[in-house]
């Protein structure tokens, strides 16, 4: 095998192996619990209906944005666990802005998007600032900020809520002309793909371009790889930490928007939560790569959608796929780590072979 093929085989092989492992482990859990392994997989791996396909794409769109937000942090070696809180605060702000309808039509939508990005960035920025000024680990601070976001949004929601006649406390409804129309993918079902699927694609492209093509992206990746080397090369690490937290939070601000403008049209107590944690899992699964993340998002959405009917069809709790999803995260990172070590060893062997000269001993251990 040429080095290039080896690399490709390893890059593809690792996640595939990890998925298989996750399926095996889930099956073992099912076996231990006395549920029918075959029935569960038959249901989950069945061909999705048209309706399910649309739902999968929609769920994946939201997951994708969340995972990109997390990945921005990851590339910088920052662990933004706070995407969850960031998107909820931001979605709430966007819902309020959009509901007020200060501007006409799509200008209103745009204003709401801007508000979401700003608020998401600000909420993440608190963690960034605490990290650079007070040395507080972003892991802990973003977890705390998630909880604070929950309380804050609940409080503010009560203040601005309108009575819609039902039990749901929610913001004012987004005016018709500011909503983002969906795409009719299949004629035989009424559900449509969120128009904001294009926003997600755009965000993915910008993410890829900025990180791999620009000087700024180089600085960001360099800082993530080695903070000490970044400092010595003239990068202001503190600035990078704040900026990347702002960017990550800004992207997180977008997470709830497809739901807001394509489905819910208001922010209420039933607005989907927990997307931030799924984002972490998907970013890890996709190795922070825009395409990899897209595949990961689709996979997670697929598992979610296909498990919905487990309870009815085979009488198994659909929560079983949450186990699968969690296990995937672990097996995937383990597989990547094993492959990484193997690759380093392989490269060292190649270097030694190419030069026919023993490398120094220190290097051999690395």
């Amino acid at each position: 095998m040429s080095p290039r093929t080896t690399r490709v085989v390893l890059a593809v092989g690792a996640p595939v192996l990890a998925l298989l492992m996750a399926f095996v482990i889930t099956s073992l859990v099912l076996l231990a619990a006395g549920d029918s392994v075959a029935d569960v997989w038959a249901q989950i791996l069945s061909v999705p209906s048209h309706r399910a396909i649309v739902n999968i794409i929609n769920a994946a769109t939201v997951y994708y944005l969340s995972a990109i937000a997390v990945a921005i942090g990851f590339r910088m070696n920052l662990f933004n666990i706070g995407v969850d809180g960031q998107y909820r605060v931001a979605s709430f702000a966007a819902a309020v802005v959009a509901g007020e309808g200060w501007l006409p039509g799509y200008l209103n939508t745009l204003l709401a998007v801007v508000a979401a990005v700003l608020v998401g960035a600000m909420w993440a920025g608190i963690a960034g600032l605490l990290r650079v000024t007070r040395g507080v680990s972003e892991v802990i601070s973003t977890i705390m900020l998630n909880a604070i976001a929950t309380a804050l949004v609940a409080y503010l929601l009560r203040k601005v809520a309108v009575d819609d006649g039902g039990n749901n406390t929610a913001t004012k409804v987004v005016p018709e002309e500011s909503r983002v129309p969906g795409i009719q993918l299949f004629g035989d079902v009424t559900v449509k793909v969120y128009g904001f699927v294009f926003l997600a694609a755009l965000v993915g492209f910008v993410y890829w371009f900025v990180l791999s093509k620009t000087r700024f992206g180089f600085d960001l990746r360099a800082t993530g790889r080695s903070e000490t080397a970044a400092v010595a090369s003239g990068i202001s690490v503190k600035k990078m930490i704040v900026v990347s937290m702002l960017l990550s939070g800004g992207a997180a601000g977008l997470v709830g928007l497809p739901l807001l403008f394509g489905n819910d049209y208001s922010y209420g107590s039933t607005f989907q939560s927990g997307l931030g944690f799924a984002g972490i899992a998907i970013a890890l699964l996709g190795r922070n790569h825009p395409i990899g993340i897209a595949l990961g998002a689709l996979l997670f959405a697929f598992l979610d959608e296909q498990s919905n009917s487990l309870q009815i069809v085979v009488g198994v709790s659909p929560d079983i796929v949450k186990i699968t999803q969690g296990v995937i995260v672990l097996t995937v990172v383990i597989a990547y780590e094993v492959v990484r070590r193997y690759r380093v060893r392989l490269e060292q062997r190649q270097v030694a072979a190419a030069l026919d000269e023993p490398a120094t001993i220190e290097e051999a251990k690395a």
Binding site: K322, L330, E337
Partner: protein, 414 residues
């Protein structure tokens, strides 16, 4: 490495019974002052304090679990997940076999989470935080799945909760409790508050609370007074040194994480068995994270952790006791502390920091003066805001184990 050695910044402070007593007295005086000044009587009632104890134990145990793991160099953000597993373990074994079996079940299930974390981080070298997050996801999913499997259709239970579990024994010393109650009712400055503190300790104290307190003492003894503890701490400070001296680094890390999981499971079990006497989904409510924060607050030492757990438990309790007013009272304390800090920082020539603290202090004071109560929704964030504030103000003085969060591979010595 330096030839020129700095004078030690802080001398070693030993925990002696006298010191502990002094701290307890000082806190009581403080609470008492605050109660008198703000008129929020619930701030120091024995009811509040007893509830504080119940709220503090799971946080403290979670922190203790974190302590075991981090002292061995493994960051454990999966505490939340291990606690979740613990709640189910307690619910399952508690309901089907009895409360003591529930305690064991909680420990067992938590340790199972610890096992996953240990395999991922120690054996495979996975990033500790990634593994922790994954465990939280897996645990939440697994418990939902298992709960639906186990409790659906059981009388008094349901998809997301177990039927009531028999209570563990509790200890009350009525001979002390009643007179102390009378004393407390008099609302005398300090005396009544002191009585409230004592009364909380002798009334309806669950054995599990007692066990938790013993675990703290045991942890301190094992980690700081035995060779097992010395080795365990050494693999968190400098694993290469440990290995070069023949210590089996991998084994100690593994054991530490297993113990950590077991204690975290117990923390979850406490929630199910003592705090509410039934397993419910989502019962942990982020207490694993708060426990982690309490451990950091306590500078990775059991005594400090205890103080942190007490503080977080206390604020949480005030919230639960409809404490809009009580927490409002606490604002005054926060304002005074912040202004005090500002003065101290100013004298240390940290001008910017002093101004920031000062302005924050004045704002909090204004808030206290211009309002009567804190909205109910906002009281929910008290423990989290407290954590953030404490970390923001104190993180530079903290000393985590030197190798915490690093992956260790065998053969790295030298």
């Amino acid at each position: 490495m330096s030839l020129v050695t700095a004078p030690r910044l802080a001398g070693k402070r030993r925990v002696t019974p006298g010191r502990v007593l002094l701290v307890v007295v000082a806190l009581t005086v403080l609470l008492s002052l605050l109660r008198v000044l703000t008129g929020a009587d619930d701030l120091a009632s024995s009811g509040t304090l007893r509830a504080t104890l119940v709220a503090a134990v799971p946080i403290g145990l979670a922190g203790l679990a974190g302590l075991w793991s981090e002292r061995a160099g493994i960051v454990n953000i999966g505490l939340e997940g291990m606690m979740i597993l613990g709640t189910f373990g307690a619910g399952y074994f508690g309901y089907f076999y009895g409360p003591w079996q529930g305690v064991l079940g909680a420990i067992l299930f938590g340790a199972l989470g610890g096992l996953i974390h240990a395999v991922a981080t120690v054996t495979f070298g996975v990033d500790h935080i990634v593994s922790g997050v994954a465990i939280n996801i897996i645990a939440a999913g697994a418990v939902q799945y298992l709960a639906a499997l186990t409790f659906t259709g059981v009388r008094g239970g349901g998809q997301t909760q177990s039927p009531p579990i028999d209570a563990l024994p509790a200890i009350s010393i009525d001979a002390l409790s009643d007179p102390l109650g009378e004393l407390e009712a008099k609302n005398w400055f300090f005396v009544s508050d002191g009585a409230a503190v004592l009364r909380a300790l002798v009334t309806n104290l669950s054995v599990l609370t007692l066990i938790a307190i013993l675990l703290f003492v045991l942890t301190w003894f094992v980690l700081w007074r035995t060779s097992f503890g010395l080795r365990l701490r050494s693999v968190g400070e400098s694993p290469a040194s440990s290995e070069s001296l023949g210590v089996n680094v991998i084994r100690y890390k593994f054991v530490a994480v297993l113990i950590s999981g077991g204690i975290a499971g117990l923390a979850g079990g406490f929630l199910a068995l003592v705090a509410s006497s039934t397993f419910r989904e989502g019962q942990t409510g982020g207490r694993g994270y708060i426990g982690l924060a309490a451990m950091i607050f306590g500078n990775w030492r059991p005594g400090g952790l205890l103080a942190g757990a007490g503080l977080f438990g206390y604020t949480d309790t005030l919230r639960l006791r409809g404490g809009g007013e009580s927490i409002h009272g606490l604002l005054l304390l926060v304002a005074v502390l912040l202004v005090g800090l500002a003065v101290w920082q100013w004298r240390k020539a940290a001008r910017t920091a002093a101004i920031v603290s000062g302005v924050m202090g004045v704002l909090v004071a204004l808030w206290f003066l211009l309002s009567d109560s804190i909205p109910e929704d906002l009281t929910g964030m008290t423990p989290y805001v407290t954590t953030l504030l404490v970390l923001a103000l104190a993180s530079q003085r903290l000393r985590p184990p030197a190798a915490a969060g690093q992956t260790y591979r065998k053969g790295s010595a030298g």
